[in-house]
Amino acid sequence: MKKRLRKIIIAAIIFLIAVLIEKINFVNIDENTIFIIQIVLYVLSYLIVGFEVVKKAVVNIFHGEFFDENFLMSVATIGAFAIKEFPEAVAVMLFYQIGEYFQSYAVKKSRKSIASLMDIRPDYANLKVNGNIEKKSPEEVKIGDVIVVKPGEKVPLDGIVIEGTSMLDTSALTGESVPREVKVNDTILSGCINLNGVLDIKVEKAFGESTVSKILDLVENATNKKAKTENFITKFSKYYTPIVVLLALIIAFIPPLITKTDILDWVYRALTFLVVSCPCALVISVPLSFFSGIGAASKKGILVKGSNYLELLSKTEIAVFDKTGTLTEGVFDVQKIKNENEIGPKELLELATYCESYSNHPISISIQKAYGKEINKNRIIHSEEVAGKGIISKIDDKEVACGNIKLMKELNLDNIEQVDEIGTVIYVAINRQYAGYILISDKIKDDSKKAIQDLKKAGVRKTVMLTGDNKDVAEKVNQELKLDMVYSELLPIDKVNKVEELLKNKNEESKLAFIGDGINDAPVLARADIGIAMGGLGSDAAIEAADIVIMTDEPSKIATAMKISRKTLKIVYQNISFAIIVKIGVLILSALGLASMWAAVFADVGVTVLAVLNSFRALK
């Protein structure tokens, strides 16, 4: 790089001297001598800055590569020499090299800044060997080894905490800024940063299988899956160069034949064509923009597995959600305890827990979980299940009945008002007196509502919820979330069929995204145009199955991902249209003889640099 810059500077100085020598001719040398000195200086400057290019061009011709940029630049500049446009020839080569220098500088810079964005790769692991600590590369650590992570260090491998407590910064993986606490027996994932305590970790996965390697691998290989736009541009540029060269040949020889005007003038115009015949600005900015977009997404805890998916996401018009675990927490918890008489909520829960303690029905388990204390089985005198209705038990001296409304009816408690809430209601009667109810339900995630609203704002036309749950629960959830369509009581295979149906009824251009938790909806994730899995952190299944992985549990990240995708695409289109307009503009102007080679090379280099800089914006 340095050598290149030095060459450019030296050549530029010589070039300036050559230009100025004729203006400030204070020693009164005769014109011929000055002319010769000038030519020598121009050639010298040209060779310093352009020799590499010409050499490459010659070598490539022997390889059968005619339309490469080195060749085109060489022809344009040597052609300019031939028609005695010396300053032009040198200036074009000089600017071309300055542009190339800028471009590779900008590309290196952006590669670096994107890489630093994803700088989660741990450099070492502190391996504990017989009480001593040895610094090892993470690859050398084996499953079952114990490693020590000190405050400020990255967790290098996935494992289980066996000693210590600490706060973890998971932001590099999830985009979540609130630190997470870990203690003994907690799972810990590589890529997190240990904030305060010292942790001893028993390694559970080899480095290659650890979270950090998987994520890095995914993101780094994402640009190998190319977006349609990128393939289009590659194809376009394949034709662009030969066409421009052909046009140059036509301009050089046909008009002078017809109009009998000076051929040199037309050759000059043709050479100007060659200057803008390289499609660099177009080709370079597209993958850069996509990579920046993918980097920006991963910083927010959204893994996009390919440029193509980032592109498709911007065209998403139908968002299909799985309910449980995606829009709702997916855990059944006691949401509410409502007592009817002097028996307080605490006692109600206690009695219900004892009543249900012999059952392992999910509902009983959530009640027991909410109670959270040890159960003294001696207090249970008798317990009997009433099939399809509930359980009646004798606890101490009380008869406790827990179950649905049918059970209450059986106990002749007819005037109980049916509770109208989302979830499963457990009615409790004590000594044949109605005592209240316990509501168990899956909670809607805090940001689900915002997620649906944001998606609408981001341009999604139709939001759909699919669930295996019954109609009542589904409708109730939707009263709050307000999706456009709800399909309930679906078996897993029905979900695939529903998605197929939605895919069939939409038009080609708009895309359908399916959002699930990645656990048992892999076929649907695969079938949708874009499969998005939630809660990917620590779930290999989700990362495996989806095209886009939201590392956290927040559905609102989908709208964030869409925004990033839209912005990236906007930048890509800006770059493409800007580059094409400038190139065509220069071609027209030079065909008319209005643009000099200077202007052409300036425009060409300028467009490239601006496009590269513009693609940076996708990072933010």
């Binding site: 490459k56 070598v59 490539n60 390889h63 590569e65 490469d68 940029e69 190339e100 471009q103 590779s104 590309v107 952006s110 590669r111 994107i114 780094e220 290989n221 640009t223 190998n224 899956k225 190319k226 590659t234 540029s237 394949k238 390289c278 499609p279 660099c280 080709v283 370079i284 993958p287 850069l288 996509f290 990579f291």
Partner: protein
């Protein structure tokens, strides 16, 4: 089998596209993708042809971008 390579000093995006195109044409290559930004090449090579194909890939890279060096990732 899938092989990953790194193209060091891959400076020009157009060349990346040309290298991809060139490698795809090699006999024994099922699929090839070059990422300009990450300087990575992923090649799907038919079983048993790895040696010859790798030689050919090197040739293609040398021909299109003499300054770029290919190494295994």
């Amino acid at each position: 089998m899938k092989k990953n390579y790194i193209l060091e000093d891959l400076d020009c995006a157009n060349c990346a596209a040309k290298i991809e195109e060139g490698v795809k044409k090699i006999e024994g290559v099922a699929e090839c993708s070059v990422s300009f930004v990450t300087e990575k090449m992923i090649v799907e090579i038919e079983e048993g042809k790895e040696k010859e194909v790798e030689k050919e890939i090197k040739k293609v890279v040398k021909k299109i971008e003499p300054d770029t060096t290919l190494r295994e990732a």
